[in-house]
Symmetry: C2
Subunit: 249 residues, 2 copies
DNA sequence: TCAAAAGTGTTTTGTCTACACCCATGC
DNA sequence: GCATGGGTGTAGACAAAACACTTTTGA
């Protein structure tokens, strides 16, 4: 049993070192319908898919989403979705907004609860399941044709990310375990869309005492190798209790 | 037609000059059922009310909430709810979180989308409708017995308010049209639960150039009368375009 | 004239900004 | 030895924090 009038959409952000991307999918209508037809309430729910843009127009891409099973907690199901899409657990995932205009889905009344996830693409395992025809990272300034209000959902997710990243140290989730300060700065420059001063940025980070020096350096780079740092959850939690003043802007 | 599996709950905050309060209601089961029975899908929806705590236990209070009609936009219906509760339009209203654990409502799967509203109790007109047995402001540190997860909903609304109020000039919505700087400061002290220095606070506010001097003073106070200020939406919007740097903490 | 709250300035401390050069490494 | 990005310090401007007394008003 699923809830016909509520779905979850999960905007998956990734950072490849240069730009912020979003992971989108194309569904395979036959496979989706086949899978759904195994459910007892198939007759009830199939109408939800009749007019689905991505079943009608093969050019249309989607944010990962699905209707919520009646027996799944919201956050739990968002995690399941994310696992289906990326094969990853332990991902930063955050609910950001519920979209509920009457006309957001033609012919059906469906609210959708938006989550965004931050993942590091290098951890990411392609899990192109049978229900998906395609799965691809898109640059945020060159998005393809999208289903329903998925464009708005992505836009709003990005706004939330932009806000959140300034006050909470969540940017780390987009980076590899070990990263250089330049990568870290580039990430912030990309998300906040502004250039920052290297010296000032580093001073700020240093003062927070949020990173640990891994005592390693980059390998195989044709220039001076940069130190690799790690973000440590323990340090973060300790600082949080002491009233962490994290702010980058 | 209503959506059986989704409701809205609207946490209404008010400030009386001394403390932050929340407006709660007690429902009148007979009147609610009578009103519902006029709807075509009554048989479908009455089960939603069978075990409602406030129908079973007369001591239980509620955040204002209702199931969403199929033909109402989410934000629009949140406004309707607020109007039903307070008789006010033009109220600051913000969606903050969707609560969706399986067990949040016993025997039914109901998600609820949380909104919070900021109102100035002096504008507030009691509209104790027939469906309500009682309607009352409660102090946040002495809440009564509440339905379902309404305690958590209020707590989370308060967290969001606390965050929001620091970066956006929304505190004004809790004050009368004309207010003194002391009232303004007290409001922030109450919401953020910390004492602030009067001189520094006033300097900060003055620098923002967000308030206009109404050229009026308090009347009938047994001490030096304070100047009354106004918050002006126009100024706010102009400053916002210029990149308003509002921060109080 | 007293009580009660309004209103105001200065100093110190810390944070933010702007800015330019040397360092290490691979080719 | 050169190209490439890594890494560092200082001075000036600005904002935040700490702190105490005078003013106005009504009773």
């Amino acid at each position: 049993m699923i809830l016909k009038s509520v779905s979850i959409d999960c905007v998956i952000f990734g950072f490849d070192g240069n730009s912020l991307k979003v992971l989108l999918s194309k569904q395979n209508p036959e496979a989706v319908l086949k899978q759904l037809s195994e459910q007892e309430d198939f007759n009830d729910i199939k109408e939800l898919y009749d007019d689905h843009p991505s079943f009608v127009d093969p050019k249309v891409w989607n944010v990962f989403g699905a209707h919520i099973p009646a027996d799944k907690d919201l956050d739990e199901f968002a995690r399941d979705l994310l696992y289906m899409a990326t094969g990853m657990n332990d991902v930063f995932l955050k609910q950001f907004h519920c979209f509920g205009n009457v006309d957001r889905v033609p012919n059906n009344r469906v609210l959708t609860i938006g989550y965004y996830a931050l993942i590091n693409p290098s951890h990411y395992i392609i899990r192109k399941s049978i229900e998906l025809n395609d799965l691809k990272w898109f640059n945020l300034n060159s998005l393809p044709k999208l289903s329903f209000d998925h464009g708005q959902i992505i836009k709003k997710a990005l706004e939330h990310l932009r806000h959140e990243v300034r006050y909470q140290p969540i940017g780390f989730h987009l980076l590899p375990d070990k990263f250089t300060l330049t990568e870290f700065q580039t990430l912030y420059e990309v998300i906040l869309d502004k250039k920052m001063d290297t010296r000032n940025f580093r001073k700020k980070i240093a003062k927070m005492e949020l990173l640990i020096d891994s005592n390693q350096k980059q390998q195989n780079v044709s220039h001076r190798a940069a130190k690799l740092y790690q973000f440590d959850e323990h340090i973060y939690h300790r600082l949080k209790e002491e009233g962490l003043k994290f702010r980058i802007e």
